[in-house]
């Protein structure tokens, strides 16, 4: 990000422009929910555009694109509030296949072609977590954005101790979940395991924990790119609205109070963007730095991101309270993102632990 060559920058720009053109032409936001058939069409077309193949290494038939390019696709999808989850297939699986070619190489071509779709299943501590013992998987998964439509699940089990940690690949067809509708209209799944699911072990112990940590950080990076795209589009929309709409005989945009709320929203947005960029850069770096960046970014999503969306609603007034207007949907999308992959408060705790010196206290 920080220092890309002129050639890379040109590539980035072309990729982003073609993605934006496609998304605006085919997937422009509208308030009405779309059909499952539409989702399937989109997914097929996106596969044809090569979005899933891009990040795969060349030896697996990919283009070896880096995370920045994947994230810019996700950001563009965020601009139109695409209800299709792409992050795992674009940003996580190509990287994981590069890391674990032996176990996953056979799925690379199906991923690239859009036939295989992946979902991340994290354990839900609230309901007792996920255990993998004696080859059997049991327990409940946390709310997953992409498990419902996936053909394969990447399961993060027992990550609270090295002895229990296992990273698994499970065929979704044999696994159960409760489908749920999310606040922002997207679909989610609450996975559950009975012990009868066929699970391929990808890694255990320290390796599983390290991979799981990177999966989480990549998932956060994707949430941030999505949120930034959504908010940036929302900010532009709001500027247009404020310059058009009149109250007390002036354009809304000419009121100092409105201008300052918008300036605050812009500061929020730029903080979000900076932390998203840091996280993107840190994906290729040292794990502690990477996790510190991701925790900072996730906090920004929950604080600055939601604050910016709230401000856009506030300055827009009543219209932003209607289901037909885009701004409310941006707010809801961010609210969902804030709750996924660890809430804001838990990332605050995490960042405190990662950045504060030890004091020799005893933790409860």
């Amino acid at each position: 990000m920080m220092r890309r060559s002129a050639e890379q920058l040109d590539d980035d720009r072309m990729l982003r422009e073609s993605a934006r053109n496609f998304l605006e032409a085919r997937c422009a936001w509208m308030p009405e929910p779309r059909s499952a058939a539409m989702f399937a069409d989109w997914h097929r077309e996106i596969a044809e555009l090569g979005w899933f193949a891009a990040g795969l290494p060349e030896e697996l038939g990919g283009l070896g694109a880096d995370s920045f390019q994947g994230l810019s696709l996700i950001e563009e999808a965020g601009r139109v509030l695409l209800p299709l989850p792409l992050a795992t297939d674009i940003l996580i699986m190509p990287w994981l296949m590069r890391r674990l070619p032996k176990a996953l190489a056979s799925l690379a071509e199906p991923l690239a072609a859009g036939r295989a779709r992946f979902g991340i299943v994290r354990e839900d501590v609230r309901s007792g977590g996920l255990r993998h013992m004696g080859g059997k998987l049991s327990g409940r998964g946390h709310l997953s954005l992409d498990a419902a439509a996936a053909t394969h699940w990447v399961v993060l089990a027992g990550m609270r101790s090295v002895g229990d940690a296992a990273l698994l690949c499970v065929e979704a067809a044999g696994a159960g979940f409760q489908p749920v509708r999310l606040l922002d209209g997207r679909s989610g799944a609450l996975p559950r395991f009975s012990g009868s699911e066929a699970a391929v072990v990808l890694a255990t112990g320290d390796e599983a924990i390290e991979l799981a940590a990177e999966i989480e950080d990549r998932a956060v990076a994707a949430l941030l790119a999505d949120a930034y795209g959504a908010l940036a589009a929302g900010l532009a929309l709001t500027v247009d609205y404020l310059n058009q709409r009149k109250q007390f005989g002036q354009s809304l945009g000419s009121f100092q109070a409105v201008q300052h709320l918008m300036a605050d929203a812009f500061c929020d947005l730029e903080t979000l963007r900076s932390l998203a960029l840091w996280t993107a850069t840190a994906l290729t770096g040292e794990p502690t730095e990477r996790t510190r960046a991701a925790a900072s970014a996730k906090i920004a999503l929950g604080r600055e991101g939601l604050a910016a969306a709230s401000r856009l609603i506030q300055v827009s007034g009543g219209i932003a309270m209607t289901e037909d207007y885009r701004i409310g949907h941006i707010y809801k999308r961010l609210q969902v993102s804030a709750a996924l992959h660890g809430g804001t408060e838990s990332h605050i705790d995490k960042l405190a632990a990662l950045s504060l010196p030890p004091t020799g206290r005893n933790e409860g």
């Binding site: 501590v125 709310l143 606040l183 007390f248 709320l261 709230s310 609603i313 707010y331 809430g343 408060e345």
Partner: protein
């Protein structure tokens, strides 16, 4: 003061909120400015709840700026013809009657030239279109008024004096909009839920230090607001009408209402972003309330408008 205690008890008992527009807004307006005939005709129905009212103030081009009202009332034989569009009309689809702000004098600008009428929602020419809000629910509407006839007796007070009456009504609305009892009740329910709810770390949510701190700060602010509202009510019982200081309780009260549901979202975590038909249980209602709650800093005079009023009227800045 009696109302404060009455509402505190109602909220504590989870009683359904009484019809806000009838009891707190239309009632006082008709009581203060209506004719004897209007008082006889409408007040009993408001008291008993037999007739349900909605408020026809806001318009597509006149949200916080009521002076921009475009709906007109044209004098005709025996009454008036009202034409225009009202927006953000809460519960219009259940209402029997509307208190309707219209322009009766198009020659003068801004606040002057407005009049208040009582309008029968069953009258010919009234069309109600639902507006689905951010929480996916239907409580507000657009109301189209296509040359609706109202008789002369429907005029409240004098022609072209509607702004004075409307301002009175808005002041009442502001006090009411502190919503301190509802906030207290919601907050106590949230505390109870958070003591039981398991947080992301596996501890009860109420043991998470960050959440504890935020609960304490809401507790402090809510305590402050409760006393501020009492202070406003004491002024009222001493015979003063709600003055500009009522604007403070709307500002603080609305921020607090939002802080409570924001806290709830963090207490319930992922469970709170699952839509209600699947969720239920402890999070039931919180999510929709949280979304719709964004309106409280916008309606009844956006907080930015309230702050300008506080600065100019209360503090005397110019």
């Amino acid at each position: 003061m009696q109302r404060f205690i009455f509402e505190a008890e109602c909220a504590a008992a989870d009683a359904p909120p009484t019809s806000v527009f009838g009891v707190y807004l239309v009632g006082p307006t008709i009581y203060s400015f209506g004719s004897e005939e209007q008082k006889r005709r409408y007040l009993p129905g408001i008291r008993s709840g037999a007739e349900f009212w909605c408020q026809g103030y806001s318009e597509p081009e006149a949200g916080s700026d009521l002076a921009a009202v475009r709906t007109t009332a044209r004098k005709v034989e025996g009454g008036w013809r009202i034409a225009g569009q009202k927006a953000w009309t809460t519960e219009a689809h259940f209402a029997d009657l509307m208190i309707c702000l219209t322009r009766t004098n198009t020659a003068v600008k801004s606040q002057a030239g407005l009049s208040l009428f009582v309008l029968d929602m069953q009258a010919p020419g009234v069309t109600i279109t639902p507006v689905i809000t951010i929480d996916g629910a239907h409580s507000v509407n657009s109301v189209f008024l296509d040359d609706v006839f109202v008789p002369d007796e429907a005029l409240i007070g004098e022609v072209d004096k509607g702004w004075t009456y409307a301002k009175f009504l808005l002041n009442h609305e502001r006090t009411n909009n502190a919503q301190v009892h509802r906030s207290r009740r919601e907050f106590e329910r949230l505390k109870a839920a958070a003591a039981l709810c398991i947080g992301e770390s596996g501890r009860p949510a109420l043991d998470e230090p960050g959440l504890r701190r935020r609960f304490a700060i809401v507790e402090q602010k809510l305590g402050g607001l409760e006393v501020t509202v009492l202070r406003v009510l004491i002024d009222q019982t001493q015979g003063r009408e709600p003055g500009p200081e009522a604007s403070i309780v709307k500002i603080i009260g609305s921020q607090l209402q939002q802080a409570i549901t924001e806290l709830a979202m963090d207490v319930f975590g992922a469970a709170a972003v699952v839509a209600p038909e699947a969720g239920g249980g402890e999070t039931a209602g919180w999510t929709e309330r949280h979304l719709f709650r964004r309106v409280v800093t916008i309606y009844a005079g956006a907080n930015e408008i309230q702050k300008t009023i506080v600065a100019r009227s209360t503090l005397g800045l110019r």
